[in-house]
């Protein structure tokens, strides 16, 4: 079957892609700028189309715990929210990581802290890639930069989630969520009828009972479990790094940006190249695992790197770790819901690295 071409918002694309990817359940709560996901799913009547359950929960907290319950049954389940709501979900996400459950979480980021504003930002980077809740854990974090990515990453996300029994986060932002672009939608995949052997689906005579828990009161046992988790994260770092390069071959300077900022920086590269400045762009697609090895390699042959984020400078810390002092690394970003413009990036690059405008 051919892919279907549609013009959709990023939020709508995620919702439609979820139905088509054979997702079993979505549990959400309204918050701007991502409410279209829940609205679209309610309107699309997925229960009739595929048997997918969609439920508006009483809170973000309830929604993520519904995800825990569904994921514990081995089902493909997901939730979505925006920054303040994702903060509320952090306890549940920690439990999901601790119980090693696969699921998909979508954060359509808005500016904070607190209630902040509903405009796009990238200031949830630390929360997303370093853990977010309590305990030593990581999510696999995918950063879409287009409406097409929003649709595609649903399936990619679930594949990774089940491969590693680990929660996956799609770290988007208000701009990508609200923007409409062309999107090619994949044909339907039927919902799965086979479930992982660890899932709580009812204890049959042929197996021991299945228990979903993150509790081990014995410190030795809990440390062993933590070692096991860390080994899993090492595997993920080894196998799942994804990134995209734009005009890096002959670059003297590298911009590093993800999501909306990567789109902005692509234009900055074009502007700078027009002015004779050899700039390239590295766009991390996975933020955990981070493309540290590639950044380290690029640091061998360029004069400097500029990390561009809509934040006070969060990803730049991972860039600094990867570069490890080989070349100067600086940060540029707007905050509070203001999207950086391509010209600002070029001007900053000139000011910080080349001298003068």
């Amino acid at each position: 079957m051919e892919k279907e071409l549609r013009l959709m918002k990023g939020n709508e694309a995620i919702a439609e892609a979820a139905i088509r990817a054979g997702v079993d359940g979505y549990f959400g709560y309204p918050i701007t700028p991502q409410s279209e996901i829940l609205e679209y799913l309610m309107e699309a009547n997925p229960y009739e189309r595929t048997g997918m359950v969609v439920l508006q929960a009483e809170s973000e907290i309830a929604a993520i715990n519904m995800v825990y319950g569904g994921a514990g049954c081995g089902k493909k389940v997901m939730t979505s929210s925006s920054s303040p709501g994702i903060s509320l979900k952090q306890e549940g996400i920690s439990y999901i990581a601790g119980a090693e459950l696969p699921c998909l979480i979508v954060n359509v980021v808005r500016a904070g802290p607190g209630l902040g504003t509903i405009q796009p930002a990238q200031s949830d980077y630390f929360q997303s890639v370093k853990g977010g809740g309590h305990g030593d854990y990581h999510l696999i974090v995918l950063a879409p930069a287009s409406v097409q990515d929003m649709a595609d990453f649903v399936e990619v996300g679930f594949d990774l989630a089940f491969k590693y029994r680990n929660p996956v986060l799609i770290l988007s932002d208000g701009a990508i969520g609200q923007m409409m672009e062309k999107v090619y939608l994949k044909p339907y995949i039927p919902r799965s009828t086979v479930f992982p052997e660890w899932a709580t689906t009812g204890k049959t005579a042929s197996r021991e009972r299945n228990i979903i828990t993150s509790l081990d009161l014995d410190p030795d046992g809990q440390e062993d479990f933590n070692h096991k988790l860390q080994a899993k994260y090492d595997d993920i770092k080894k196998n799942e790094v994804r990134f995209e390069e734009f005009m890096c071959e002959d670059a003297e300077y590298i911009l590093i940006a993800y999501g909306t900022s990567a789109r902005v920086c692509q234009k900055s590269v074009q502007i700078a190249r027009g002015q004779g400045i050899r700039v390239g762009l590295l766009r991390p697609i996975t933020l955990f695992p981070f493309p540290s090895v590639r950044i380290s390699q690029l640091a061998e042959k360029v004069k400097g790197m500029l990390s561009v984020e809509m934040s006070a400078g969060q990803m730049v810390e991972d860039v600094l770790l990867a570069v490890n002092g080989k070349v100067p690394v600086r940060h540029f970003g707007r905050m509070g819901g203001i999207v950086t413009t391509p010209d600002e990036v070029v001007d900053t690059l000139k000011t910080l690295f080349i001298g003068g405008k």
């Binding site: 929604a63 519904m66 689906t201 204890k203 009972r209 828990t213 509790l215």
Partner: protein, 263 residues
């Protein structure tokens, strides 16, 4: 008297008067002597066996004394975050509608931190059984005041007794959920005497059967004791419960299905 050769003759299947149900795992309970959790677990396990539900049961354990429910019940169990069991159970039942889904929660879990999840699951009429063990105290963390701690009752965080003027009034969650359209059968029982155990088991059996019929949320409160937290012997604690808890939390049905009323 016969000779003592008879021990083997006595231990014969036909002489068996009482036996542990297979649904109860042969692990040593972590509960204090005299605590009602063990009996409540047993009732539930017996019903799962009697009703042939072992292969379709999915339980949700709370945070609290009964967090380790999955050590004792030989069914699939998910351990939920503090207070969130009804949300977890909601998704399980919606995604596996043919299963028997229950939550097992204490009063700190259900009536304090999980108030929202409890009320909304009941209000949506989720087809689950909520078992609410109310002993008026946070047992696992060492006997702190719970929302259900009765006026004047001492705990480690109300050492001079609960003063309702500054600490608020006990929350009667069972009375609250009985008013919601989503609940089908709401009852309050105890397990401190054989007669009460029989009544509690009967009530729980009804609740399980209603779930099979997709009737909505069933809510069974077990008013129970906490000898350790209350700093009493098991016998004293049961007497204290009868004298002080029952007047505040009277036993009996709070909401009876209309199909039962004529009976």
């Amino acid at each position: 008297m016969k000779e003592a050769t008879g021990i083997k003759e006595i231990i014969k299947p036909e002489n068996l008067a009482y036996q542990r149900t297979e649904v109860l795992v042969d692990n040593t309970l972590s509960y204090c002597p005299g605590c009602g959790h063990g009996t409540t677990h047993r009732i539930l396990a017996e019903l799962i066996e009697e009703l042939g539900l072992q292969s379709t049961t999915i339980g949700v354990s709370p945070v609290g004394c009964s967090v380790l429910l999955y050590h004792y019940l030989d069914v699939d169990i998910q351990q939920a975050a503090h207070g969130r069991a009804p949300a977890v159970a909601t998704a399980i039942k919606r995604l596996l509608p043919d299963s028997f889904v229950f939550t097992y929660q204490g009063d700190g879990d259900l009536a304090a931190i999980g108030t929202s999840e409890t009320i909304h699951a009941c209000n949506r009429g989720e087809n689950i059984l909520i078992i609410f063990v109310n002993n008026g105290i946070y047992g696992m963390t060492g006997g702190q005041m719970a929302p259900t701690t009765i006026p004047g009752m001492k705990s480690s965080t109300s050492p001079f007794g609960r003063d309702v003027k500054t600490m608020g009034n006990p929350l009667k969650m069972t009375d609250i959920v009985a008013t919601l359209d989503g609940t089908y059968y709401v009852t309050r029982q105890s397990v401190h005497t054989p007669a009460n155990v029989r009544r509690a088991k009967k009530a729980m059996r009804k609740a399980i059967e209603y779930q099979k019929l997709n009737r909505g949320t069933c809510f069974v409160e077990i008013v129970s004791n906490c000898p350790s937290g209350w700093k009493m012997t098991p016998v004293e604690s049961n007497k204290w419960m009868e004298a002080n808890m029952f007047p505040y939390y009277p036993l009996g049905d709070l909401k009876v299905p209309s199909e039962e009323k004529g009976k």
